[in-house]
């Protein structure tokens, strides 16, 4: 008995490090349960003692223990992991699954719920030592994970298993089950999130009647991320699942899915923590566009609307996405977005961040983009040419300067006449983008004067009139005006 316990524990830890693949396990003594089961001649009638044993083990595994403290309940915990292993092995015998597992699914699901549905811990570096100045680089590890992992593995295999059919599983997968399950995605333990992802994915695949509900619950999760919390650890994993869900959508897309694209996928770009799931988000976006290319313009609009501020890493991501999305856009549909698009690109090129500028320059190596540029020549040339010409002369970075000059040549080759015309216009309208603040102020003088006059008149009309305070001025910080300290912003 002692021997076996040690043995099964070893495999449990061994498995935890390797890929959770049940078929490539180390050989070990056949567990008691399976041995006993081997005696059963007629699988339809499981003897009572075996059934009782089975139920006892499930009940035992449902007991909560303090997994954060390795010194407590050592014996029980060992026993528990051994039982879990035995239960796990049973799943490999189709007969027993049908006759033992399926009839007791209620208890099994309850056991799983009791184990995994828990308030998520905040992983601490050191729990006891509070003295300041002590640093350790240990990775954050949830001490309970070793004990949770077998339960997740069991759950996963239970879903993968073909015996429990949709009908018997369906009743347990309720709205509240899914909602609690989704909350676990916020776990800081990446391995846990990986399991959650796999399980949810298979549940979605298997339980066709529950699909709509699962999608709705995922939506709510994202709404919370977008509108309230701004941080959710499992966003990337959920988007992974969504990606495969989206690829299964029928064409043409149903209205429900289009709404999802507009109210979830696009606003997800504006979330502060977007960087952590951008790769997955991009994949979802592109899948949507492959189903319905007309959505591309909405996405371009969204990207331009939620363009990052003071976050160059995110800007690079946006530029990457923008170029990809533009390639899907129908050129004629882009018209209303052209000014915003090209101004944004010019700002990126002329901006202080080299990587951003470099990424933006890559647009001009793209043939489809150049086609867009050509199609809207009457707008794009007067905008681009004077600005590009000027920064090509003055840019501080040599490599970029070279590519700016190359770009000049490209533009010239496209339309020599338009280029010259644009270059020689007096007082180009868009040069202000690269001008410094002082020059810009000059341009504003006229209208500021008008406002001043109007304010005076308003004062005459109503002596109690208070002069308006504009947020963007030289004298005070915008954030104060916008209520940056309103509690909505989490500083990462």
């Amino acid at each position: 008995m002692q021997n076996r316990t040690a043995n099964s524990k070893q495999t449990a830890t061994g498995r935890q490090q390797a890929q959770p693949n049940p078929t490539t396990q180390q050989p070990r003594a056949p567990p008691q349960m399976v041995q006993n089961m081997a005696r059963v001649t007629d699988p339809k009638h499981v003897p009572k003692d075996i059934r009782d044993q089975f139920l006892k083990k499930i009940h035992f595994c449902s007991q909560p223990y303090d997994f954060n403290d390795d010194t407590k309940n050592v014996k029980e915990k060992q026993e528990r992991s051994q039982y879990l292993q035995e239960l796990f092995d049973l799943l490999k015998e189709p007969n027993f699954v049908t006759n033992l597992v399926v009839p007791h699914l209620d208890l099994i699901i309850e056991m799983i719920e009791k184990n995994i549905f828990r308030p998520l811990p905040i992983l601490k570096k050191t729990a006891t030592n509070g003295e300041i100045g002590m640093e350790d680089d240990d990775q954050l590890i949830d001490p309970a994970w070793t004990h949770l992992q077998p339960v997740y593995e069991y759950f996963l295999q239970l879903i993968v298993n073909e015996q429990p059919d949709v009908k018997s599983l369906k009743i347990f997968i309720t709205h509240s089950f899914i909602q609690e399950f989704l909350e676990l995605f916020d776990s800081e333990e990446p391995r846990e999130r990986e399991y959650l992802k796999n399980i949810l994915h298979r549940l979605y695949a298997k339980l066709v009647p529950r699909r709509k509900m699962i999608r709705k619950a995922i939506n709510d999760c994202f709404y919370t991320l977008i509108h309230e919390t701004y941080k959710f650890n499992g966003a990337a994993e959920l988007l992974d699942i969504l990606a495969s869900i989206i690829s299964g959508f029928a064409v043409p897309l149903r209205e429900e899915h289009v709404i999802f694209f507009k109210t979830v996928i696009i606003p997800l770009h504006k979330v502060q923590t977007c960087q952590f799931y951008h790769e997955q988000l991009l994949r979802c976006s592109m899948l949507f566009l492959s189903k319905d290319p007309t959505l591309a313009t909405f996405l371009v609009e969204g990207l331009l609307r939620y363009w990052p501020f003071a976050n160059s890493a995110k800007e690079v991501m946006f530029l990457n996405e923008l170029l990809e999305v533009l390639e899907v856009c129908e050129i004629s549909k882009l018209e209303p977005l052209i000014p915003k698009l090209f101004k944004r690109l010019i700002k990126c090129i002329a901006g202080p961040h080299l990587q951003v500028a470099d990424r933006a320059m890559c647009f001009f190596e793209n043939d489809y983009f150049l086609t867009i540029l050509k199609s809207y020549k009457p707008f794009t040339f007067p905008l681009l040419v004077p600005v590009i010409a000027q920064i090509a002369d003055t840019h501080w970075h040599k490599v970029l300067q070279e590519s700016l000059n190359a770009l000049k040549t490209i533009l010239k080759e496209i339309d020599y006449q338009a280029f010259d015309k644009a270059l020689n216009t007096k007082d180009p309208k868009y040069l202000y983008i690269i001008q410094d603040a002082k020059n810009q102020k000059k341009d504003r003088q006229k209208i500021e004067e008008k406002w001043k006059n109007l304010t005076k008149q308003a004062l005459q009309k109503n002596p109690n009139f208070k002069e308006p305070v504009v947020p963007y001025s030289d004298t005070h910080i915008v954030g104060e005006h916008n209520g940056l300290n309103n509690g909505n912003i989490t500083i990462l």
Binding site: D66, R118, P119, I122, A127, T128, N129, G130, E131, H175, S176, Q179, E180, E183, D220, Y223, T224, H227, E228, T263, P267, R305, P339, K343, R444, I447, K450, W451, N453, L454, T455, Q457, A458, K461, N462, F465, P468, V469, V470, P471, Y472, S473, V478, N482, G483, N486, N488
Partner: protein
């Protein structure tokens, strides 16, 4: 000269930079003032309508704010702004929505009760019934609170809708109601609170999302405030019990945070009979963060229970002062200090004193610091007889390697000396610890002693100041320790000089300062000049005064620039 204000606004809004548009939007009240109500209605509002569809969130956020300002310009006709605001209240972007709700509240301030019932309530219901956009429903919840009181005969409708939203499937809406349920209760008749709100509050407290349950805690407290003792017992207490056993530690933590306020809200009777027991469990929680927050609340909680019930807390404090988590101990110290003022002396002495003394020697500096602080409170509560038991440990704390601990200890000693006011006790017990400030190696500790010196001199009179204390100063000055210590001692002498008579200053203090004026360290010389200056004001004897002047005069030729400067300054006036 005369510009058309509306045209100027439109021109500025043509700008392509968002920040300029935002600025322009914030100037809208100029335009509105000049246009007057008719044109606001006929020109401005239709123009705003067109903006809703195409503008950026930043601009709309500004618009939502300015609509509130326009309402103040045309208070009597502000209802014309409501349609715009209603649309903004349903927007996706949270800040826009929230701002729109605020502005609607401003508009409602100008409306009569009739209008509220006939236009606002239907609007709220409309928003609350919008099934496609949860954002509308959230805004509706936020609007219900300030407007319920004025809804007249429509109150029932709002109540019904509010409770309906509590059972909503969308978690965002449930979170909104959980936050607001305590607020709206403040405006309701008690009977409706009990009949309508309590059942849904119960339901929300059992919500499957811990976020919802967590948000209920604050609301729970607010509702408890408006109920009487027996109502609280039947309605709120079960919820408190249930939440204290919540499986999510976040909920338990939220409950711990407000526990003292909760105790105040439900009243002494319930606090005595039930809350102590519930709170004990939170103080023993398995999650250390919960314990930290609970023990922080405990310091206030003990004020709201009857003194005779406090002995239930004492064993817990003993437990907490041995907690493995140092933050728990840190706050437990404070509670021990506080509770000693409420408990019978012998009881706290026999049950808690040793624990506090142990905490003064804890491994963690924050614990030691708080323990030293509480030791003062504790000893003061027990009276002078406890002092001799604490002083040896306080003395040990003055040798602590961390200056923060020493500073706190110094403060404690001074506080004790000032409360005891007994020269015997002071001389025997405290003085020896107090004078350690003269030799402390941290400037913070030295200046702490210095700042409090006048108060001590006032309490223990000049006999002590020119007796024991002065001799300590002289000792510091005469021993060849670092110049900073001597400067400190000189300043201490200056403090003494403020409190003593002329002859004493002349006989006892001046000779010391005179010697220091010739110190090899320039800094000591100019500090001595300053001290000599304050001596001058006390001394009447012309001969000594001349002596002082003479000594300072000599320093006019000092090689050090600063010394020269102070000497000059001293002689000028």
């Amino acid at each position: 000269m005369s510009e058309n204000p509306f045209e100027v606004l439109k021109e500025d809004m043509e700008n392509e930079e968002v920040y300029l548009k935002v600025n322009a939007m914030h100037r809208v009240k100029v335009v509105a003032t000049l246009l007057g109500s008719d044109k606001i209605k006929s020109q401005l509002i239709p123009y705003f309508e067109t903006l809703l569809k195409k503008e950026d969130d930043e601009v709309l956020f500004a618009l939502a704010e300015e609509l509130g300002n326009i309402a103040q310009i045309i208070p009597n006709q502000s209802s014309c702004l409501l349609s715009l605001l209603e649309q903004l209240a349903g927007f996706d972007e949270t800040v826009v929505r929230e701002q729109a709700v605020k502005s609607i509240a401003i508009v409602c301030g100008f409306l009569g009760d009739n209008d509220i019932a006939n236009t606002i309530v239907p609007m709220i219901i409309r928003l609350a019934s919008n099934d496609t956009n949860f954002t509308c429903r959230v805004s509706a919840v936020c609007l219900m609170c300030p407007l319920y009181a004025r809804a007249g005969n429509q109150k029932e409708k709002i109540r019904q809708k509010f409770t309906e939203l509590c059972s909503e499937e969308t978690p965002m809406v449930r979170r909104a109601v959980a936050t607001k349920i305590g607020e709206i209760a403040q405006f309701m008749d008690k009977i409706h609170v009990i009949q309508d709100l309590i059942p849904v509050l119960k339901q929300l407290c059992q919500d499957e999302q811990d976020q919802v349950r967590l948000l209920c805690m604050e609301s729970l407290m607010n509702i408890a405030k408006i109920l009487n003792s027996s109502e609280n017992k039947t309605n709120i207490l079960p919820l408190i019990i249930q939440s204290a056993e919540d499986k999510s530690w976040r909920v338990r933590l939220a409950l711990s945070k407000i526990f003292a306020d909760l105790a105040e809200a439900v009243g002494k009777e319930i606090a005595d009979s039930s809350l102590i027991q519930i709170f004990s469990n939170l103080l023993k929680d398995t999650e250390c963060d919960v314990r930290v927050i609970a023990v922080r609340s405990l310091a206030r909680f003990i004020k709201f229970v009857s003194p005779e019930k406090l002995n239930l807390i004492v064993p817990l404090l003993q437990l907490l002062s041995k907690d493995p988590f140092s933050q728990v101990k840190q706050y437990a110290c404070e509670v021990i200090g506080q509770i000693a003022t409420l408990l019978p002396k012998e009881y706290s002495q026999s049950k808690l004193q040793q624990y506090l003394i142990d905490l003064m020697a804890d491994d963690n500096q924050d614990v030691r610091r708080n323990a030293a602080k509480s030791a003062g409170q504790f000893a003061a509560a027990i009276g002078p007889e406890a002092l001799n038991q604490f002083v040896p440990f306080l003395k040990k704390c003055m040798d602590d390697p961390k200056w923060r601990v020493r500073k706190e200890t110094m403060q404690t000693i001074i506080q004790l000396a000032l409360t005891v006011k007994n020269p015997d006790v002071f001389n025997k017990q405290l003085e020896s610890v107090f004078v350690m400030f003269l030799k402390d190696r941290a400037a913070e500790v030295r200046s702490m002693g210095l700042i409090q010196l006048p108060a001590l001199i006032a309490t223990y009179k000049q006999d002590w100041a020119i007796g024991n204390f002065l001799s300590k100063c002289i000792e510091t000055l005469s021993k060849d320790v670092g110049s900073l210590y001597r400067i400190n001692a000189l300043y201490a002498i200056q403090q003494i000089s403020f409190a003593v008579d002329g002859p004493i200053a002349q006989d006892k203090l001046w000779p010391i300062v005179q010697k220091c004026l010739k110190d090899p360290v320039p800094n000591i010389r100019f500090v001595s000049i300053k001290v000599a200056k304050s001596l001058q004001k006390k001394i009447d004897n012309q001969q000594t005064l001349n002596q002082i002047k003479q000594s300072i005069n000599e320093l006019l030729e000092d090689p050090d620039r600063d010394v020269k400067f102070y000497a000059q300054e001293a002689l000028q006036n």
